[in-house]
Symmetry: D2
Subunit: 352 residues, 4 copies
C-alpha cells in the first residue's frame, strides 16, 4: 500500500522537482499537487518536462484539506508562508517536510538576527530535524518533521562538517559560493531577464547571506564549538548547480593531505550520495556542478595551500536536488522507512 | 539470467551514454566497455558523471574477443571503422547494434554518393534494420542487426514521416537543423575550442549533409514516393539537443490543422516516446530541445503558414538519447524482448 | 556646430545603443534622452555600460517639446506609439528616424494584413525612406524621414537582395532565422526568465512573422517581381546577434559559384559594412553572429546545393547594430551629410 | 609622424586584441604582426573579427629583425619564451612591452618560488615597470620597458591596493577569482573542448596560482608591509571577463562605508578607467564582468560584513582589455607621450 504524499506549493521549481522524483517512486502515491494560481491546470503546463510523465492537475483546495488526505506533506511555500501553515498541520498529525527556512534554525533569536522576524512558534523549532541525512540520519529515521536545508548551506556544510568535526579549523571560514539561476525561483524580474542575466558573475549577496545562520548552527553541532562564517554568493551563467569554495585556515601542521582525507573518509565513508573528487590528472580534478546535474550527488574535494596554511574545501551539488528536493526525498525515505536511495539513483548526465 | 552486452568504442559520448543507460537496465550485464586508448582506466575517468555509478574499467581486448563473450554488441566506432569490424561479428552470430552510418542505407550506391566510398559489403545492408522503433518496430522485434539512426536524421524523420505517409508533401522539403556540440563528439579541435565555439550560430553544413540520404530513404519507405530534401545544419550554443525545423509545402487545401493533427496522431498515437507539443499559451508552445534533455522523448509539433501553403514541422530531441543511445537501447529492448521502455523512463529535467 | 539630436524612448535596448553610438559621434550633440518611466534618472542606471561614458539624465519632458529643440529625433517607441507621435513631429519640420515598424511599409493595406491595424496616415508612408543604406543610399542622402528596418528583415534582405536583383530566384524563399534575446527588448516576462530561456532553441514565430512584409517589399523593389517569403524565427541561446539562413531555389544552370559571387559583388562591392565570408578552411567559413557582435558589419556568404538546385544564402548581423541602431546611425549620417561611417567604425570583438 | 609598433606573437588572443586596438590608434603604425605558424596568412584568418578592419599579413620574419624596424615591440609570447628574447631587444634599444610574466616580478627569488625557474637576467627585472597605470603612472611616462600585469592579478590588485594603502588590512587576504575561457588562450585541449567546458564552475587553481606573487608584490609596494594572499581561481561559463572577490578582514572600527569609500576615492579619484559601482537599487549594484566587456574599464565596489569584520572588495575587468591588451596600450600611451585614453575609449556593450 502506497504512502499518500502531497505537495503544497507545487508550481515552483522545487515543487516541480519533487513531482519529477515522486513520479518514479514505487512506494508513494501523489495525492495532490497544490497551487492556488494554477488550480485546474495540468502540471505539465507549468513543468513542461513532465508532459507524458505525470498526468495530474494542480489543485486549489485548501492546504489543510489537502493535508487531511495525506500521510506526508511537502511544504514548498516561501519563507513566512510556511510558518503560518505548519502549526495547523502539526496539530493534524501529518508528517511534514518543510522546504522553507522557517524551521531550519533551532535558536529562535537567530530568526530575528538573520530573517528579521520574531519566530511565532519557537517551541516547534526543536521538533524539526535538519534534513541533511549525512549529518542527521538517525534523527530522520521515523521522524515526523523535517526541514530541508538551504541550497547554498547544504553545499557549504557538506564540505566543512568533516573539517569542523576534526577540530582543525582556525578562525573565520570564508565561503564563496557560485550558483545557478534556478535557486532564485521561477518568478520573472529584471534581474532574471535573460538579456540582463546571461553571462554574469553577479555578486548578489556579498555579505549578510541568511544561510550563514544554518551553516554556523550545523558546524557547531558537529564540532561543539563556535565557527564564524564569512559568506559571499554570486550568480553565474548557468541554471542548475552550486559550487561552494570554502577557504579554511588551519595550523601549518595540518597541511597534510592524508589527515584531511581521513577527516572526510571517517565521516562520509558509507554515504550513498557523497563522491570524493580529487584527481591528479583529467579535466574534472575537483568538484564541478556540471558533473552532478540531475543527480542527488554531492561531490566533495579539497586542495591544500601551504603558502597560507589553508584548506580549500570544494563541493558541488545540483541546487534543486541535493540542495532541495533530493535531500528532501532522501529524508522522506528515512522518515518512512524506505531504502534511502529510492527514486534518487539517476546518474548525472555528461556532457551537458 | 542477464543478457551479456558489450560496447566497442565506449569512450565516446555515445558510448558513455550507453553505459549510463545500461547501468540502470535490470535485464542486462555489461561485460565489456572497450576502448583501446583508455584500456585499464576506470570509466569514470572519461565519463566523470559515472563516478560512483558504475565501477568498471575499459578493456583494450580485441573487439572480436569481446564479442565472443557477448550476446549483443554496440558498435560505437567511427564511420569506416565499423564496416571493417561488422562482417567478422556477423559471422560470429552475435547481435549487433551499429551506431555508425555504415549500415544505415539500403542502397549501396548511396554510400558512394553521400559518403564517397564503395560499400564493401552491400549484401549485409539489407540485414540491418534502421533502428528507429517508430518506423520499424515490428522488424526490430527479435532482429539480430540494427543500425542506429543519425541524430539529425532521427529528428527530421520523426517530424516528417507522418506528412510523407499522408501524401501531402509537394516539392522539395527544406530541413533546417540546429544542434548542440555533443553531436560533434569528444575530440578537441579549434572549431570546438570553447572561446571559439561559445555563442555561435555556425552553419557547419549548409549543403551536402550526409543525413539527407537516410532521411530521403526513410520518407520514401513510408510514402512510396521520392522526396527531395534540402538540408542545412547549424551549431548552436548548447551541448545537448537538436531542433529540426522542416519547411514542407502542401496544397492550399491541406492548410488544415485537424488534417495535419490526424496525420501525426494516426502514426504516433501509441508511441511511448513521442510527445505532441502545440499549445496556444504558455512559453513552450512548440518543441524545444531544452525540454527533452536527458530523456528519450521526441517532442513534435507544427504550425501552418497559409501565406505560402507551408507546414512548419518541428521536432526536438536529445541528440545523445533519441538521436543515438536512447533509440539504440529502445531497439535493443525490442530485439531482446524486453519492455521497450526499460531503462528509458527518466523524465527530462526542468529548468536546466 | 553640432547637430542637435534627441531620442524618444531612450530607455530600451535600441535607445541605449543609440546613446552609446551618439556619445562617440563628433558631429552631434545629444540634447535629450527621453523616458517617461525613468525621468530624472541617470542613463547609466538603465544602461549600466554607459557609466563613466555619458553623464546624462533621462528627461520626462513632452516628446513634442523635446523635438522642438532638436534637429533630428530618433523615435524608439513601440509599434503603434510611433504612428501617433510622428504626424505631429512631421508638422514641426524636425528630421525623424523611426525605429518602429509604423512607417516601414509603403502599401497601407500591408499594415492591415500583417499588423492588423488600419494605418491612419497612409499619405505619410511614401515620405519615409526604408533605412537600409545598401538599398536606399541615394534616397537617404539629405532625406528628412527614414524608417529603420526590422532586425530580422535587415538580415534576410541583405542576403537576398543581390539574388533577387539577378533574377535567379525561383519559387518561394524559405527564411529560417536564429536570433538572440535582445531583439525581444528589455521587459521581463516568463518567456525571458533566465531559467526558462537559457539553452533554448525556441520556435517563437514559425509562421506569420511580420517582417515578411518588408522583406517581400524590398525584394520586389530590387527585382521588379513578386517574391513569396516563408519565414520562421527561433530564439537561441545568446543575447546579441542574428543568423539568417535563406533557402533559395534556382535553375540548375545557376548552380555556379562564380555567377552567385558576381551577383553579390556587383551590388555590394563598395559597401563599407558588408563583408563576404566564404572560406574553404578555418573555422569561420560562413557568416556567424559571434564575429559581428558590437559592430555594424553584415557578414554575408553562401553555399550551393546541387542536390536540390538551392543557394543557401547566409547573413549574420548584430541585431542592435546593423539590425537597428547601427543602420539608423548610418542613415542619419547620410541624411545629415556626415561620412557614412562616422561613429560606426568599431571593430567586432573576438573571442567573445 | 607615426610611431612604428610591432607585435611578436600576434596570433594569440592578446595579440589579436592589440591588433584591434592599434588599428584604431591615430598615432601609431603597425609595422609587423609576427607569427611563425601563421606567416603569410592574413590576420583575419586567425582573428576573424578583423576582416575588413585591418588588411595585414602575419610575418614570419625573425623577431630581432622585426624589432629593428620598430620603435616599440609588444612581446606577446609565452612565459619562458619572452625571457629568451628580451635581452636581445633591450640591447637594440627598442621599447618593449612584455605581455608575459617574465619581467613582472622584482625579486628574482620569486621566480624560483612561483614559476619554478631561475631567472637568467635578474638585473633586467628592475628596468621593467609593472604596467598598471593606476599604480605606476609616473614611472610609465617615458619608460622604455614595461611588463603588462597578469589578468587575475590586475583585477585583484585594483580592488585591494586602496585598502592596503590605507593600512586597514588585517591577516591573510582571500582572493576568489572567477574567470572566462579566453584567459586560457587559443590552444584547444580537452579541458577547453566546448562540450566539457560549457556550464562549468571549475576550480582550476584552488591553490598555488602564480599571480599571488605579483599581487603580494604590488600590495607591499603601496602599503610598505607584507600581505599574505590566499588565492583560488575558477573557470566559469563565459569567454571574456573576470570577477575578483577579495575577502579582507579589518578591525571592527573600520566597518565604516565612508572610510572605505575614502580609501578608494583618494587613490582613484582621477583615474580614467576606474568606475565605482555600489548601488542600493537596480540590478548591477556591484561590479560584474558583463558590464565591462569590450572596454578598458575596471569596475570596483565593495560591501561590508559586520558579522565577521570583513570588507568584500569586488572588481570586474575584461581580461583581454584591462587585464592585458588594454593596460598594455594605456602603458604604451604613457611611454610614448600620447593621451592615456587614446584608442581605449570604446564604451562597453550592453546587453551582451
Amino acid at each position: 500500500m502506497s504512502t499518500k504524499v502531497s505537495i503544497i506549493g507545487a508550481s515552483g521549481y522545487v515543487g516541480g522537482e519533487l513531482l519529477r522524483l515522486l513520479s518514479r517512486h514505487p512506494g508513494v502515491e501523489i495525492v495532490a499537487a497544490h497551487s492556488r494560481v494554477h488550480a485546474g491546470e495540468y502540471v505539465h503546463r507549468v513543468h513542461p518536462n513532465l508532459r507524458g510523465v505525470l498526468s495530474l492537475q494542480f489543485t486549489g483546495e485548501d492546504p489543510v484539506s489537502v493535508a487531511s488526505k495525506s500521510d506526508l506533506v511537502f511544504l514548498s511555500v516561501p519563507h513566512g508562508a510556511s510558518v503560518k501553515l505548519t502549526p495547523k498541520l502539526v496539530d493534524m498529525g501529518v508528517r511534514i517536510i518543510d522546504m522553507s527556512a522557517d524551521f531550519r534554525l533551532k535558536d529562535p533569536s537567530a530568526y530575528k538576527l538573520w530573517y528579521h522576524y520574531e519566530h511565532p512558534y519557537p517551541d516547534l523549532l526543536g521538533r524539526f530535524v535538519y534534513g541533511l541525512p549525512e549529518l542527521h540520519r538517525e534523527e530522520l529515521r521515523g521522524a515526523r518533521y523535517a526541514s530541508a536545508p538551504g541550497c547554498n548551506a547544504a553545499a557549504a556544510i557538506l564540505a566543512l562538517a568533516p573539517l569542523a568535526r576534526s577540530g582543525m579549523i582556525r578562525g573565520t571560514i570564508v565561503v564563496d559560493v557560485k550558483v545557478g539561476s534556478s535557486g532564485a525561483g521561477g518568478k520573472p524580474s529584471l534581474a532574471t531577464h535573460f538579456s540582463e542575466r546571461f553571462g554574469v558573475v553577479r555578486p548578489y549577496a556579498p555579505a549578510g547571506h541568511r544561510h550563514v545562520a544554518e551553516i554556523e548552527q550545523e558546524l557547531r553541532a558537529v564540532s561543539g564549538r563556535e565557527h564564524a562564517v564569512a559568506m559571499s554568493a554570486h550568480s553565474v551563467n548557468m541554471v542548475r548547480g552550486i559550487l561552494s569554495t570554502s577557504h579554511v585556515f588551519v595550523d601549518s601542521g595540518d597541511m597534510d593531505p592524508a589527515k584531511v582525507w581521513r577527516a572526510y573518509r571517517e565521516m562520509y565513508r558509507d554515504e550513498p550520495f557523497i563522491r570524493f573528487v580529487r584527481d591528479k590528472k583529467g579535466i574534472f580534478r575537483y568538484p564541478d556542478p556540471k558533473i552532478v546535474v540531475g543527480s542527488n550527488f554531492a561531490d566533495i574535494g579539497f586542495e591544500l595551500d601551504p603558502h597560507t596554511s589553508r584548506i580549500v574545501a570544494l563541493s558541488a551539488i545540483d541546487n534543486l536536488m541535493k540542495g532541495a528536493a533530493g535531500s528532501a526525498l532522501q529524508s522522506m525515505n528515512l522518515m518512512l522507512g524506505f531504502d534511502e536511495r529510492t527514486a534518487l539513483d539517476a546518474a548525472p548526465l555528461h556532457p551537458i
